[in-house]
Symmetry: C2
Subunit: 124 residues, 2 copies
């Protein structure tokens, strides 16, 4: 069976507290992760909360990369959802994990859009 | 253990082909889903692909709602990631499933940001 997309869900713990509250840093980080993985950025939306925390989503031609941070807990939830034969979501996941300085992390991978036939083309 | 967020991942199959390629419809649908669930919309990014397909993300104050469609397969991948005591992600998920006319669907729920102590506050 082919899948249309790969969806990596990351739990990043014991992260660098300052970067978790730095919208510009996180935006640059996610864009760098997208580009390094081979994805094409088609849009974005970032928001800084009061008193702290950032939510951001990069809309990529092959789906999305999202981050939601809780600096008060040194925790970030990250999603790297890609589709396409030429996109490497693990590369994006590794980069983000390193940039956030996560001392502990876990990853779940889901295949999205399982297709029973061979017509599941790689990329949009 | 408390979790900071609830993340519903929907696989929507045998959907209405026309709406899956209608960016405006899908944008309105996701915004309605966000509002009806009690979430606050803080940003958005939508993109229409050639020859078909839409990717869209609504950035909400409690995370995000995302959709990626493959009209050629009548399939959509939907994520409803919320946090906050007063937000009901299932309500958003039900609305989107109905609006897309999905004849078959499956749902996985993940708890994001499990906290061992009682300090996991409900909402940002």
């Amino acid at each position: 069976m082919n899948a249309l997309g790969r969806h990596l869900l990351l739990e990043l713990k014991i992260c660098n507290k300052e970067v978790l509250d730095d919208l510009d840093f996180l935006r640059d980080c996610l864009i760098e992760a997208a580009v390094s993985s081979g994805a094409t950025v088609v849009g974005e939306s970032f928001h800084h909360f009061s008193p702290c925390g950032v939510s951001g989503v990069i809309n990529i031609a092959e789906s999305h990369i999202a981050i939601h941070t809780w600096p008060e807990y040194q925790y970030a939830a990250v999603d790297v959802f890609t589709c396409g034969c030429n996109v490497d979501p693990e590369k994006a996941a590794r980069l983000i994990t390193e940039r956030l300085g996560a001392q502990s992390h876990s990853l779940i991978e889901l295949r999205r859009g399982l297709m029973e036939d061979s017509h599941a083309r790689c990329a949009k």
